[in-house]
C-alpha cells in the first residue's frame, strides 16, 4: 500500500489509497462510542479492530511559489498539510467540514476549501495561501483594504475571507456567473449583490460582513481604475 519515491502518482494508485483511507475512517468498529465528529450508525458485529499502519504517499506541489515535496498520510487534508506539515498556519481550521470557509486557499487559480480535499490529490498543483498574497510589511491590496475598512475582528476567518475576496473579483472579471447574476450573456459586475452572494461560503461570526464588502468594493474600484489606466494592479 505504500508509495515510495513515486512523485507521479497514478490515478489507480490514488484511488487505491483513497479507498483504503476511506475504509479506515468510515468503518465504525463498535456500537456505542463514536468520535465526536461522526454520528454513524453502529456496526452490527464489532470484531477485533484491524491494526493498519497509515498509508503514506509522497506529493509534490508548489505552495506560494515554492516547490514542496511531502510524505503524508493519505488521510491528510490539504489544510492539515499546510498547517501541520508546512507550518503555514495562516490558513485556518474552523470546521474541517467545508461549512465555514476559514480554510479557503487558491489552488490552480480557483478558490477551494482546503479541508475538503486531500493533500495527495494535488500532485503538481499550485497553491496560494494568505501568506502568499502579502506580508505584514508588504500587504496585498486586498489585505490593505481589509485593514483600512476594519474588515475583520478576531482575525480567524480573515485569511479565508481574503483568499475568497481576491478570487471572487477574479471570477467576476473572468465572466463567471453566480446565483444572483441577472443575465448569463452579459459580463457580471462587482456589485454588492454579486460579492455578497459569492462570499457567502465564508462565515464571519464576528460579523464584519458590511466592512468586508467595503474593502472588496474599494479594491474592485481600484482595479477598474487601474484597468482604465492600462494597468492591472491585481
Amino acid at each position: 500500500m505504500r508509495h515510495h519515491g513515486n512523485a507521479d502518482v497514478s490515478r489507480r494508485g490514488l484511488l487505491l489509497g483513497a479507498a483504503a483511507s476511506a475504509a479506515l475512517t468510515a468503518t465504525p468498529r463498535h456500537g456505542q462510542a463514536m468520535p465526536a465528529d461522526g454520528d454513524a450508525p453502529p456496526a452490527p458485529h464489532p470484531g477485533p479492530a484491524p491494526v493498519m499502519n497509515p498509508v503514506m504517499n509522497r506529493v509534490s506541489l508548489t505552495v506560494n511559489g515554492t516547490a514542496q515535496t511531502l510524505e503524508v498520510d493519505t488521510r491528510t487534508t490539504l489544510l492539515d498539510a499546510l498547517r501541520e506539515h508546512l507550518h503555514l498556519t495562516g490558513t485556518k481550521k474552523g470546521c474541517d467540514h467545508g461549512q465555514c470557509g476559514a480554510c479557503t486557499v487558491i489552488v490552480d487559480g480557483r478558490r477551494i476549501n482546503s479541508c475538503l480535499t486531500l493533500a495527495i490529490m494535488h500532485e503538481g498543483g499550485s497553491v496560494t495561501t494568505v501568506e502568499g498574497l502579502g506580508t505584514p510589511a508588504r500587504l496585498h491590496p486586498m489585505q490593505a483594504a481589509f485593514v483600512k475598512h476594519d474588515g475583520y475582528q478576531c482575525g480567524y476567518c480573515t485569511p479565508g475571507q481574503i483568499c475568497s475576496a481576491v478570487a471572487v473579483l477574479d471570477e467576476i472579471k473572468a465572466g463567471i456567473p453566480s446565483h444572483v447574476t441577472a443575465s448569463l450573456t452579459d459580463a457580471p459586475q462587482p456589485t454588492h449583490a454579486e460579492m455578497r452572494e459569492r462570499m457567502s461560503g465564508n462565515i464571519c461570526r464576528c460579523g464584519a460582513y458590511s466592512n468586508i464588502l467595503d474593502a472588496m468594493t474599494d479594491v474592485a474600484g481600484q482595479r477598474t481604475a487601474g484597468q482604465q489606466n492600462g494597468r492591472d494592479p491585481a
Binding site: 479506515l24 475512517t25 468498529r29 463498535h30 456505542q32 462510542a33 463514536m34 468520535p35 465526536a36 465528529d37 479492530a49 491494526v51 493498519m52 499502519n53 497509515p54 498520510d73 488521510r75 492539515d80 498547517r83 507550518h87 503555514l88 498556519t89 495562516g90 490558513t91 485556518k92 481550521k93 474552523g94 461549512q99 465555514c100 494568505v130 501568506e131 502579502g134 505584514p136 510589511a137 500587504l139 489585505q143 481589509f146 485593514v147 476594519d150 475583520y152 475582528q153 478576531c154 482575525g155 480567524y156 476567518c157 480573515t158 485569511p159 454588492h192 460579492m195 455578497r196 452572494e197 462570499m199 457567502s200 461560503g201 462565515i203 461570526r205 464576528c206 464584519a208 460582513y209 458590511s210
Partner: protein
C-alpha cells in the same frame, strides 16, 4: 489608582490619539495570517503530539465499561486518558459540569477520553476504536415540560416595587404575552484549542481564553496544583462571545494528555463537538405584563423568565433590563430555574439582556399598538433618568430618548406606515421596526505594567485579551495619549498570565476597565519619569515624545538612559457604581422585506444609534456594533439549537445545521455614536459597546416583520414557516 470620585480633566482628554478612528495595530498580522492562535504554536515547544477527544454518546447516566485496548494498540498512539487513569480532578469555579466525564455522565458529548498520537489522523482514527458501554438514565431535556417544577435560583430573588398585581389589574390598557427564545451557540470561528507542555511540575497552556486569571485559578482547582505553577498564554483568540470565558475540555485534556504522554500535546475541539461539549446561551420562556394609563404611562410592568441548566447551574437573567429600562411605579421581575440535563448553559454575548430585550421590546411594540401610539413616542414617554427601583439614584448618563430621536430622523421613521402589511413593492412586503438597546456598564479592577526603554519605546503588558474587540489598539492609544508619544512608539503585549491581572474580556467591560488600568500605570510611569529627570516643580507635560517642565524640555527616552523604567499599577473603583446607575443605550432600526409568496425575510437596512460614553476607537467600536447587530439578526431569524428531547442533545451541532448569518444575509449597516463622555465610569470616561450592539436588534427585526406582514411571531427564531400561513393575500 483608586477611582472613587468623578474624573476631572486628565491627559486622556487631549484626544490626540484616543477617540480617533484608528486602524488596528494587529491588522497587518491578522490579514496576512501571521497572528498566531493557540493551536498554531509550532514555534513555542518541540515534539508536539496530537490529542483527539471522544465525547459521550449519552446525555445522562454512567459508563459501565470502557475498552481502550484497541485504541492503545493502534498505530501511532502514545496514550489514552480517561477518568479511570486521569487521577483525582477538582472542578473549576466557573464550570458547572466536569470537563472530563466518567463514570458519571452529565451531558451529551461530555469528554470521556483523549487519545494522544503522533499525528492528528492517527489520534482521530484511534478514538473511533474506543468501546464505551453506557447505562443511560432518564433526563429532563424539555424546558416547557420542566417549567412547572422550576424554582427560584440561589441569589436571584424576585424584585418587587409597589403593588404590581393590584396596579396591573387596575390598568385600563393591559398586555399579557409570552415569548420564547431558543438555545443558541457562540459558534466562534476558532474552535477551543490548547497546546499543553509540562516542565517538571510546571504547566504551560497556549490556549484560547478570554479570562486569563479565571483560567489560571480554574486550572489550579481542577488539577489540584498551585497557581504559580500554571501559565496561560492567549495573545490571539479567534472569537469568544462568552464561550471562551472558561477553561474547557481542550485545555484540561491537553494538560492530562501531555502528562500521560510525557511530551507536549495539542488539542482542538472538532466543530461538531463544540455545541454540546461546551456552553451555550440557554433557552427562555418569558411572560411579560405591562399595564398603562390610556395616555400610555406605564403603571405596572412585570417580567418573569424560565430557563434551565444542569444541577448547580444558573438562570439566564433575561429580566435584568426590565428592572431598569422603563419608568413605572409598580414592578415585578422573577426568574425560575429548571434542572435540565442538556449541556451547560452559560454566558453568551450580553447574557440576560440579549434574550430579555428580544421579548421586552416586542412587548413594548405590542403595547404601543394597543395604545395607538407610535412605538418611539411610547418609549420616550416612559423614559426615566433614575433607577426605577431606587428613586433618587440617577443614571450617570442616559441618552436613550436621544438615540431614538436621532435614529428616527436618520432612518426616515416618519415615513413608516403604522398599519401592518400596508407597504408593498412588487412581491415584497416592506416594514420597519424599532427597539431600544440597553446594557449595563460594569466596572472592575484591572492592572497593567508599563515599560519605558532607552529608545523611548513604551511597552504595555497586561493579561487582558483581544478577542476581536480591538483591545491591542485602544490600549496602545491610551498609552500613547498618556505618555505623549505617537502610536508607533507603543508596543502592547496581552494574554499572558505572567503579566498583571486585568479585567479580561467579557460583559462589555473590557475596553473601559483595561484601558483605565493602563492609564493608571502610565500615570505612575509619568511620575517615575519626572523623578528620574529631576522635574520636581510643576506637573510636567508629556507631548511629542518629550517631557517639559519649567521651560525645560528633554526627550522622554532620556529618562530610561540608565536602564528601563518599569512600573505597575491598577485601576480600582469606589462606590460610584452604587451611587449611579451606569448603563449604555441604543436605538435599533431595521427595515425588512418579506416575500409575500414564500415568506422569505430579507434585511434591507440596519441602523444603531448608540450612547456609550467616550468612544476610544470609533473604527473598532463601530465594528463591534455591526458585528453584534449581525449576531442579533441571526438570533432573530435563524439561530436555534434544536433539542432532541428524547436523547437530550443539540441535534444541529455544526455550522451547516446551526445557521448563522452569512454575507448574503446582511445589508449595509449604519452606526452612530452620540457625543458622550461619562466621568462617572472611569478616568477614560468610556463605557462598552460590544454587547450593546446585540441588545434589542432581534426585537427590532421582529417588529419590522410584524410591520411588513401583520404576523406577530413571539417564538424565536422568526423562520418563514411561522409566518407563511398567516401572510396577507396577494392581490
Amino acid at each position: 489608582m483608586k477611582f472613587d470620585t468623578p474624573a476631572a480633566t486628565n491627559p486622556i482628554d487631549q484626544l490626540k490619539v484616543v477617540g480617533k478612528a484608528t486602524d488596528r495595530i494587529d491588522g497587518p498580522l491578522k490579514t496576512t495570517g501571521t497572528a498566531p492562535y493557540a493551536y498554531e504554536r509550532h514555534d513555542v515547544v518541540a515534539n508536539q503530539a496530537y490529542g483527539f477527544i471522544l465525547g459521550s454518546a449519552i446525555a445522562k447516566g454512567r459508563i459501565s465499561r470502557m475498552d481502550v485496548a484497541a485504541a492503545k494498540a493502534a498505530p501511532g498512539v502514545i496514550a489514552v486518558v480517561t477518568a479511570e487513569n486521569a487521577g483525582a480532578l477538582g472542578k473549576g469555579k466557573w464550570n458547572t459540569a466536569a470537563l472530563l466525564g466518567g463514570p458519571e455522565i452529565q451531558h451529551y458529548h461530555q469528554a470521556v477520553a483523549l487519545v494522544v498520537a503522533e499525528t492528528f489522523e492517527q489520534a482521530r482514527d484511534a478514538a473511533s476504536l474506543i468501546k464505551v458501554d453506557y447505562q443511560a438514565e432518564a433526563g429532563a431535556y424539555d424546558l416547557a415540560a420542566a417549567r412547572s417544577g422550576a424554582t427560584v435560583a440561589k441569589g436571584e430573588p424576585d424584585s418587587t416595587v409597589g403593588d404590581f398585581n393590584g396596579a396591573y389589574a387596575a390598568a385600563p390598557v393591559q398586555l399579557d404575552a409570552t415569548y420564547t427564545t431558543p438555545d443558541q451557540g457562540h459558534a466562534m470561528m476558532e474552535p477551543h484549542a490548547t497546546i499543553a507542555a509540562w516542565n517538571g511540575d510546571k504547566l504551560t497552556l497556549w490556549t484560547a481564553n478570554q479570562m486569563i486569571n479565571w483560567g489560571v485559578k480554574d486550572v489550579s482547582q481542577t488539577l489540584n496544583m498551585p497557581e504559580e505553577n500554571i501559565r496561560l498564554i492567549s495573545p490571539y483568540i479567534g472569537g469568544g462571545f462568552g464561550g471562551k470565558l472558561f477553561v474547557r475540555s481542550d485545555a484540561l485534556m491537553a494538560a492530562l494528555g501531555a502528562k500521560a504522554a510525557g511530551r507536549p500535546v495539542k488539542v482542538a475541539l472538532t466543530r461538531p463537538l463544540m455545541f454540546n461539549n461546551t456552553t451555550h446561551r440557554p433557552a427562555t420562556i418569558q411572560r411579560i405584563r405591562i399595564g398603562t394609563t390610556r395616555e400610555g404611562r406605564i403603571t405596572a410592568i412585570g417580567h418573569e423568565s424560565w430557563s434551565g441548566d444542569l444541577p448547580g447551574g444558573k438562570p439566564e437573567t433575561a429580566v435584568q433590563q426590565t428592572r431598569l429600562l422603563y419608568a413605572g411605579a409598580n414592578r415585578l421581575t422573577a426568574m425560575r430555574l429548571a434542572v435540565l440535563d442538556l449541556p451547560e448553559g452559560n454566558a453568551m454575548r450580553a447574557p440576560g439582556e440579549a434574550p430579555g430585550l428580544m421579548a421586552l421590546e416586542i412587548a413594548m411594540d405590542e403595547m404601543a399598538e394597543k395604545l395607538g401610539m407610535d412605538p418611539i413616542q411610547f418609549r420616550i414617554l416612559n423614559d426615566t433618568q433614575e433607577d426605577p427601583e431606587k428613586p433618587g439614584r440617577p443614571y450617570s448618563q442616559r441618552q436613550l430618548a436621544e438615540c431614538l430621536r436621532q435614529g428616527a430622523e436618520r432612518f426616515g421613521w416618519a415615513k413608516r406606515s403604522p398599519k401592518p402589511a400596508s407597504v408593498r413593492e412588487g412581491r415584497w412586503l416592506v416594514g420597519v421596526g424599532v427597539a431600544a438597546g440597553f446594557r449595563n456598564n460594569l466596572v472592575t479592577k484591572s492592572a497593567a505594567r508599563v515599560r519605558l526603554d532607552g529608545q523611548g519605546m513604551v511597552t504595555v503588558e497586561t493579561d487582558m485579551t483581544d478577542i476581536g474587540t480591538g483591545t491591542y489598539t485602544i490600549i496602545a492609544q491610551t498609552a500613547a495619549e498618556t505618555m505623549g508619544v505617537p502610536l508607533d512608539r507603543v508596543a502592547v503585549r496581552l494574554g499572558d498570565s505572567s503579566f498583571p491581572v486585568s479585567c479580561g474580556s467579557g460583559g462589555q467591560w473590557g475596553a473601559n476597565n483595561s484601558t483605565a488600568g493602563v492609564y493608571a500605570a502610565c500615570m505612575k510611569l509619568r511620575q517615575a519619569v519626572a523623578r528620574k529627570l529631576g522635574f520636581n516643580a510643576a506637573e510636567p507635560q508629556f507631548a511629542d515624545g518629550h517631557v517639559s517642565s519649567g521651560g525645560h524640555t528633554v526627550p522622554l527616552a532620556q529618562a530610561a538612559k540608565d536602564g528601563e523604567l518599569v512600573v505597575e499599577d491598577l485601576i480600582e473603583y469606589g462606590d460610584l457604581d452604587k451611587k449611579y446607575q451606569q448603563s449604555t443605550f441604543a436605538g435599533h432600526f431595521v427595515e425588512v422585506a418579506v416575500d409575500g409568496a414564500t415568506g422569505e425575510i430579507r434585511l434591507r437596512r440596519m441602523l444603531a444609534v448608540c450612547a456609550a460614553g467616550r468612544i476610544l476607537n470609533p473604527k473598532s467600536a463601530r465594528s463591534q456594533v455591526i458585528g453584534a447587530m449581525t449576531m442579533g439578526a441571526g438570533a432573530a431569524l435563524m439561530e436555534e439549537l434544536a433539542v432532541d428531547k428524547r436523547r437530550g442533545f443539540f441535534v444541529n451541532h455544526d455550522l451547516a445545521g446551526y445557521e448563522v448569518p452569512v454575507h448574503a444575509d446582511i445589508p449595509h449597516q449604519e452606526v452612530v455614536f452620540l457625543d458622550e463622555v461619562d466621568p462617572i465610569s472611569s478616568p477614560m470616561k468610556a463605557k462598552g459597546v460590544g454587547e450593546l450592539g446585540i441588545c434589542g436588534v432581534g426585537a427590532a427585526v421582529a417588529n419590522a416583520v410584524y410591520n411588513a406582514t401583520g404576523v406577530r411571531v413571539r417564538d424565536y427564531p422568526i423562520t418563514l414557516d411561522k409566518i407563511l400561513d398567516h401572510l396577507p393575500e396577494m392581490t
